[in-house]
């Protein structure tokens, strides 16, 4: 006998897969805009070196970037708001939001486990503590992008918001930093999905997983 179980709701999957291209277009158009004043760096590493802009054919496309950004922002926000509403109303948030501070402690052990420094995992429900923190944080980051974005989009009409965030230049830096964090999230997320294997990936597409399939197949 084998047990199959619905892991991800239909809405969760739609919002997730719609968000992927929307976030990508927002980052891409954001890069077209950022090129016009690329001032940030991490230590000696400029964000971004000229060759990165050249490689992706980014230079001289500010107007195109702004038009794209201020078109797709609506879809990005609507999808995000619907996702949050759906997650709250369906009760899915109970699996996603860490229920206590021990989540941080558990997440540390998950990290050690994933780095092959620890054998066993803390007990979990649908998501482990590291996933809970990551998937909750990404929603907060999305809201942060909207708030910082509004502050630099309308620093006069929403002057109080820009002031609250530390002023126009700081709001711009925060908006950019969040974008870099998306790329970090994306890299780790995709790596984890690859490592978790087909049964897990399939559940994000079809919704269904085969319970404990990993334990049935010999470890590779």
């Amino acid at each position: 006998m084998q047990t199959i179980r619905q892991k991800h709701l239909l809405g969760t999957r739609w919002f997730h897969w719609i968000n992927l291209p929307l976030l990508f277009v927002m980052i891409w158009s954001g890069m077209l805009i950022y090129w016009a004043f690329p001032t940030y760096s991490v230590g000696p590493i400029r964000l971004f070196p000229q060759w990165v802009f050249t490689l992706f054919n980014i230079p001289q496309r500010l107007a195109e970037g702004m038009a794209l950004h201020f078109f797709f922002m609506w879809l990005f926000v609507v999808n995000g708001v619907l996702y949050v509403a759906y997650t709250l109303l369906s009760g899915e948030w109970r699996y996603l939001v860490p229920q206590s501070f021990s989540a941080f402690h558990d997440a540390w052990f998950v990290l050690l486990h994933d780095l092959r420094l620890r054998r066993d995992l803390p007990s979990q429900e649908k998501y482990n503590a590291a996933q809970q923190i990551a998937y909750s944080a990404i929603v907060v980051m999305g809201a942060g992008s909207v708030v910082t974005g509004l502050a630099i989009y309308k620093p006069a009409q929403l002057g109080w918001l820009a002031t609250l965030l530390g002023g126009y230049p700081i709001a711009r830096l925060l908006h950019f930093t969040l974008t870099v964090l998306y790329l970090v999230f994306f890299t780790v997320h995709v790596a984890q999905v690859i490592l978790a294997g087909w049964n897990n990936f399939r559940s994000m597409v079809s919704g269904w997983e085969i319970v404990n399939e990993e334990e049935r197949t010999p470890a590779s």
Binding site: M1, Q2, T3, I4, R5, Q6, K7, L9, R13, W17, I18, P21, V25, I33, Y34, A36, F37, T39, L62, A63, E64, M66, A67, L68, F70, F71, W74, S90, G91, E92, R94, E125, Y153, K154, P155, A156, Q157, G159, A162, T163, G167, Y168, P169, R172, R202, V205, S206, G207, W208, E209, I210, V211
Partner: protein, 258 residues
Amino acid sequence: MKKNERQHPELSLPDNEAQRIVRGKTRRSFLVGGLAAAGMVGAYEWVTHASPEDEVPWPQRRVLDFNGRLSERLLSNEHLMPTYAPDKIGGVKPNGHFGLEKPLASEKWSLQVTAPGRSATSLSLADVKQLAKTEMTTRFCCIEGWSGITQWGGARFSDFTKNFFGPGQPIPAYVYMATPDGEYYVGLDMKSALHPQTLLAYEQDGKPLEERRGAPLRLAIPIKYGIKNIKRIGLIQYTDERPADYWAEDGYDWFAGL
């Protein structure tokens, strides 16, 4: 199963049956997902390759204009760019010299003002200076992303407009401003133009305007991107139709408001 049993059903089935069911669900989901992805790619292609209006594919141009109208609708005179102490001045570089190519012949300069149903008027700098002088130190935001703080001195455009039309007279919905040679021009909605921080400026950072910064008279409109802060104004044209705008014709947002 603990909670949410209804949402997350579980089935225990013989191995081959379980595999068959999951494979079927997966196939169907990939098919639907693939169609949705194809639809999204098609939509993106349409959004980015529809016939352009002023260099922007029309669906995006419509949304830019919608955003602008929404922003204009919400704009009020209480929406102010933050002001600063004069010791915070810095970071604004002269950027853009369209319409300034020829040296300024100050003695020949005059300001032409027109409006529908009125005869054209020619004004001197002294005429503008007769209006109450406002000084403000505000952030100047370039559409490229940089910003700086600068001090402006000049007449409120709202005072200028009231003075031109006379009290209680209707004011057209838009205003167009151009350099004397017509090489650079901006279009403005009247709400932004009459905003209390919109000045016809003749001083910057406490000194008379330098030539490269727009002498003898320029627009200081900190609630718009720098591209709308036209230098060396030679013509002010009140109009009922949305006027042309140099950068909007080149793919930028017409409203360009902050």
